[in-house]
């Protein structure tokens, strides 16, 4: 079952095949729950988010477009949005974004295509994150993981709105460039 592609498993999940559903959950549960825990720091809330993420994947599998990225990033984006909604309801303060700096990328049980695609992206992004100035990295993590707007980041970091926007933009352009280099090397 592990040699089955992520996309095939997603299609199986959507069509109600129980073997595919089990394999899909097993393949992604550590990453989905891990992301929810990173954002929420609460086991019960993170499980609610992780469960809902799989339910949404099942309901909206038809909207998945492989041209726009691998299954894992699609699924994690769903988990992120749900976790941020929960965070806003709880009005909880996010954890220190510095803990995310040491993050490691590719999963040992990632699907074959994902290892080829997202795995490379993950390592590139990890390295690019490590080279960002600390203030840009904080701004980026607050935006990408906690859904903080530039205005909210300005307020929490005690900096003008324009500065917050510049930090987010500069960080994103560097990350984007790190992936661009990879594509150029591959001749894409």
């Amino acid at each position: 079952m592990w040699s089955v592609s992520d996309e095939a498993l997603l299609a199986g999940l959507a069509s109600g095949e129980s073997d595919a559903a089990v394999a899909f959950i097993r393949r992604f549960q550590r990453r989905v729950f891990g992301l929810a825990m990173t954002i929420l720091s609460d086991t019960a809330a993170a499980e609610d988010v992780a469960q809902e993420t799989f339910a949404r994947a099942w309901r909206h599998a038809g909207a998945f477009d492989p041209r726009r990225g691998p299954v894992a990033t699609w699924l994690l984006a769903i988990a992120r949005n749900l976790a941020i909604d929960t965070l806003r309801l709880r009005r909880a303060d996010p954890v220190d974004p510095e803990i995310l700096v040491s993050m490691q990328g590719t999963a040992p049980d990632a699907g074959p295509e994902e290892r080829a695609l997202a795995g490379d992206d993950a390592h590139r992004l990890h390295d690019a994150m490590a080279t960002l100035p600390a203030d840009q990295r904080r701004a980026l993590v607050l935006a990408a993981f906690y859904g903080k707007t530039a205005r909210e980041i300005g307020e929490s970091e005690n900096i003008p709105l324009g500065t917050a926007k510049t930090r987010i933009r500069s960080a994103m352009m560097k990350l984007r460039a790190s992936l661009q280099v990879e594509d150029d090397e591959r001749g894409m």
Binding site: A61, G105, H126
Partner: protein, 225 residues
Amino acid sequence: MNEACEATRELLPELALGILGGEDRARALDHLTACADCSSELAALSRAADGLLTLAPQHEPPAGFEDRVLARLRRERPRHRARRITTFAAAAALIAIVAGGSVWVGTAHDRKLASYYQGVLGIAHGTEFAAAKLETADGISGGEIFTYTGRPSWVFIVVRAPVSDGIYQIMGLDHGLNVRLGVVRVTHGNGDWGGTTTARMSSMSKIVVVDQNGQQVLHATVHHE
């Protein structure tokens, strides 16, 4: 790259991260419907933003997680269908009530509801509130549209699977004339957009959702009083 591109490029990192709101978001989406270069820049930035999420540490979920998810999927399958039917029935009832005095009203509860919606319409000089299901050419449900004719008139649209992620224009057909109402971005299978419009919503017979190549992906027939 022209001035509009330069202004949009400033906004794209925040749009890719999903933290851009309000007028900036509307302005960026508006430009993106007509600019392939900026759309491809957004795709590259979105790849970086989404890729970041794979860096989060993995964590084993609590024991029994897999069984609980499977049980939930089994439970939700019939309920999901029932809820959609109920929502549509409620919308249909609402349209019937809002359609006004010509509708036979059976119970005290219905009369109260009709009076309530007349009051709601009165707040913004409204003459009509309508809702319709958006469907693909194959008749598969892909969202809903709500329109209000008043001062101001407004439109609110919800788009979801099976529509693919992307940016779409919302067009209204007013006696054979195409009127552009707004732009909706679908991300991870969900999108919504709402805004005021100077278009006369009560004379829109059809609403269509069109992709960047001009292909119609969804349509709704709007029934008026």
